[in-house]
Symmetry: C2
Subunit: 407 residues, 2 copies
C-alpha cells in the first residue's frame, strides 16, 4: 500500500492558505496558524513564497490589544495576471484575469475549424501576443496561459485522444507545440473542467459545497468540484455527463456507449431534428452547416425564447433530455449546486434552467433531504476561458494540483 501524501507540506496547504487569505483576509500569520493547524515555520515558509511570487502582499497591522501588533496579509490584486484561452471549432476566446479572479480583458477570434493544427497553434501564439499587448500587460507579469479544449486529454502527454469536435487534433502533441511557441508557461486542460473551476472561483462557492458546472458547447460535458478541488477521476475523465445514457437501447455513440445524452440534446442533435421538419423553420434563415452548429443553434434558441412554437418545442425537448441525464448525474453525486455554462446556454439558458430545475425538484433522489440549486453562468460564452485563467492562478500558487504550468 503506497504511503498517503503528506498533509502539511504539499501544495494543498499553499492553496488552502491562499484561499483563507482570499476569503477571510486581511489575516495575520498567527491567525493562519490557528485556522490551518499548520506549524508556525510552515506558515512562514508558505507566506514567504507567496510574498516573493507577488500573489499576496502585506497590508497594515492589527490594532494593539496589549501584545505586539501583527502584520496583516492580503491578496495582491494586480501584480500577477493569468490568461485563459479557449480553443474551439468556431472561435478562440482569450481572457485575462487578475489574482482576484476579475476579468480585465477579452478577445474573440476565429476558431480551429478544419485548419491544420500546426497553423492553428501558430495563430494562437500570435493572437496571444497581440492580446496581452492590447490589454497593456507586459509579458513578464503574465503568470501563464491555460489553453482549454473540447474533449478528453491524455493527462501525461497533453494530446487529445478523442474529440468529436476537433477530429484532426486527435494524437496531435498539442502541449508540446504550445510550450514551444508561447513565451509564458502553459497549461492544457478540458474546457468543462475549466468552466467548473472558474464558476467555483468567481462565485465564491463555499469549499463544503458539492458543486458542478454542466458545460454545453458543441458537445456536452461537466466539471465537478468536491471539497474545493476538481474531481478528475482515475484518468482525468470523470464528469463525462454527455456520455451518461438516457436510453440503454438507444443510438450507438462514437464513445462505445448507447443512448448518450449528447446524441439527443446537443446542438447538432437539435438541428438534425429541425431539419426533418425544415418547413417550420424557413423564417429563421438557418444555414444548416454541418460543422459550425453554433450560429444555427443560436438562431433557433433565440426564436424559442421569442415564442417561436416549433423552435420552443425543440429546445425544450433538448432541455428535458439533458435534465434526465442530469438527474442520474445528481443521483450519483448528490450536489448542492449546478451551474449551466458554455456557449450553447448563452441564448436560451433561461429555458434550460427552468426545465432542468423543475425536473431536479421532481425527480432527484435526495430532493426530500435538500435542494439542488440550478443556476446559469453570468457569462456562459466565456465560462471556459475565465475558468482557464483561474486554473493558471491555482497552478501558479499551488503547483501539483491537476495539470501544471509547463515552460
Amino acid at each position: 500500500m503506497p504511503r498517503p501524501e503528506t498533509v502539511a507540506s504539499g501544495p494543498g496547504s499553499r492553496a488552502l492558505v491562499v484561499d483563507l487569505i482570499r476569503s477571510a483576509g486581511p489575516i495575520s500569520r498567527v491567525e493562519l496558524v490557528a485556522a490551518t493547524g499548520l506549524t508556525q515555520p510552515t506558515i512562514s515558509n508558505i507566506v514567504r513564497h507567496l510574498l516573493e511570487s507577488g500573489v499576496i502582499r502585506e497590508g497594515g497591522r492589527t490594532a494593539s490589544t496589549g501584545g505586539k501588533p501583527r502584520t496583516l496579509l492580503e491578496i495582491n490584486p494586480s501584480a500577477l495576471f493569468a490568461v485563459g484561452a479557449q480553443l474551439g471549432f468556431e472561435s478562440m476566446t482569450f481572457v485575462a484575469a487578475g489574482v482576484g479572479g476579475g476579468t480585465i480583458a477579452r478577445q474573440l477570434v476565429d476558431g480551429a475549424a478544419l485548419e491544420d493544427p500546426e497553423l492553428v497553434v501558430e495563430r494562437l501564439a500570435d493572437q496571444f501576443r497581440t492580446f496581452i499587448s492590447t490589454a497593456g500587460l507586459p509579458v513578464e507579469t503574465v503568470a501563464g496561459v491555460a489553453v482549454v479544449v473540447p474533449g478528453p486529454l491524455a493527462a501525461r502527454d497533453g494530446t487529445m485522444f478523442r474529440s468529436p469536435t476537433l477530429r484532426r487534433w486527435e494524437r496531435f502533441p498539442l502541449l508540446d507545440r504550445l510550450v514551444a511557441r508561447l513565451p509564458v508557461p502553459v497549461l492544457l486542460d478540458n474546457d468543462a473542467a475549466a468552466a467548473a473551476v472558474g464558476e467555483f472561483w468567481t462565485r465564491r462557492v463555499a469549499r463544503t459545497e458539492s458543486f458542478a458546472a454542466v458545460y454545453m458547447g458543441t458537445g456536452i460535458g461537466a466539471g465537478v468540484v468536491l471539497d474545493g478541488a476538481l474531481h478528475r477521476g482515475a484518468s482525468s475523465n470523470a464528469a463525462e455527463l454527455g456520455h451518461v445514457s438516457i436510453d440503454a437501447d438507444g443510438v450507438v455513440c462514437s464513445c462505445g456507449n448507447t443512448g448518450c445524452v449528447e446524441r439527443y440534446a446537443a446542438p447538432a442533435a437539435v438541428l438534425a431534428e429541425a431539419r426533418t421538419a425544415s418547413d417550420a423553420f424557413n423564417d429563421l434563415g438557418l444555414e444548416w452547416s454541418e460543422n459550425a452548429t453554433g450560429p444555427d443553434f443560436d438562431r433557433l434558441a433565440r426564436a424559442a425564447v421569442n415564442g417561436h412554437d416549433a423552435a420552443r418545442v425543440l429546445i425544450e425537448r433538448s432541455a428535458e433530455r439533458l435534465a434526465a441525464a442530469i438527474v442520474s448525474f445528481n443521483n450519483v453525486l448528490d450536489l448542492d449546486r449546478i451551474v449551466l455554462a458554455g456557449p450553447s446556454f448563452a441564448v436560451a439558458g433561461s429555458l434550460y434552467v427552468r426545465v432542468i430545475r423543475a425536473r431536479i425538484d421532481r425527480s432527484s433522489f435526495a430532493r426530500q433531504a435538500h435542494e439542488t440549486h440550478v443556476e446559469i453562468a453570468a457569462n456562459p460564452r466565456d465560462s471556459a476561458a475565465i475558468g482557464a485563467a483561474a486554473l493558471v492562478l491555482q497552478s501558479s500558487v499551488a503547483p501539483g494540483h491537476g495539470p501544471t504550468l509547463e515552460r
Copy 2:
C-alpha cells in the same frame, strides 16, 4: 464564505496516522512527523489518544544508529473489537472484527420482515448480547456496533426517509431506539456505503484509487470511496446507482425518476419477468413470495449458473441492464475499481462480473486511457455487516468523519 476546516487538528489527521501505522508500521513518532508534516506536539497528542484507547500499542525500539533509539508504534491487533449488524427484510447478520479488519465471529438470524419496528429493535438488542457472549467478547472490549440498513437515512436524526424494502420503518426514530437498547455506542448507516468501506478496508485498496462497491440486496445501491474517504454528497445520498436511469421514457419509480435501473435489474424485477413465463421455471420450485425475494432469486441464480437456459437469459438480462447503469455511473466518476457486493451477487456473481466487465471494457468513456477493474466481493452476503464493523473502527479512531458513535 465559511472558513475551511483546519487541516491538522481534525479527525482526518487521526485517521491518517492510524492508516500510516497500519500500512507502514511499526513506525516511530519521528517518522510519523516526517510522513505527515504534522508537528511533533500534534503527533504526540494523537499517539497518546490512540494508545489510551487501545487502538495502537508500543512494540520494540529502533536499532541504535548513534542517536537515541526510538519506540515503535503498531496496531494493537486484539484489544478492541467492533460489531457490524446488517438489518434487512429477510435476515439480520452480525459480525465481529478486530482492529486489523479480520472477521472473528458471524451470526445470521431472522430479518425485520413485516414485524413491528419496536419489537425488531428489541430482538436485535437481545441478539447482540447473545452474539458477543457466544463470541467470547466481554462487552467492555466492544468499541461499538454499527447497524446498517437498506435505504437512505436522514443523517441528522437517524430515521429512514424512504425505503422500498422496509416501508414500515419510514420515519421510525431508529437511532434513538438503538441507543436506548444497546449497551455499547451505536452508529447507523446505509448498507451499500458500509460495504464500500468494508471492501476498501479489507482489500487494502490504495488511498489514491477511485473505488466503488456496487451493492445489490433487495434494491441496488453503491458506495464510492475517493481519496480514502466515503463520498457522501451534500445530504449523504450520493452513489444512488439504483436510481440511475437506463430509459428516460421508462417506468416511473417511487423515487420520482423514470427508468431507474433498480426497476429493471433488481431481484423483484427479474422474478416478475420470470412470472410472465412461469412454465419455463416449473422445475425450480419457486415460491413467488412478494416480500421475501431472496430465496427465489437465489434459486433462479443457481439454475442460471448451472446452465438452465431460461434462468440464464433472465440473469444475463439483469446483468446487462445493471451494466448499462454502471457505465453511466463510471462515466461520471472515472473509477479504478468496482467491487460487486451484497447478497444478490452471492450465487451468480460470476455471471454478473463477466457481463459488467465486458460492457465496461466496450463502452466506458475512459477505456482507452485506463482499465476499470471489476471484481466480486470475497463474501458478498456479509459485505455490509463486515463494512459496518469497519465503520465502527473508523469512527472510534477518527470521530467526525461520517456518522459518529452515539451512546
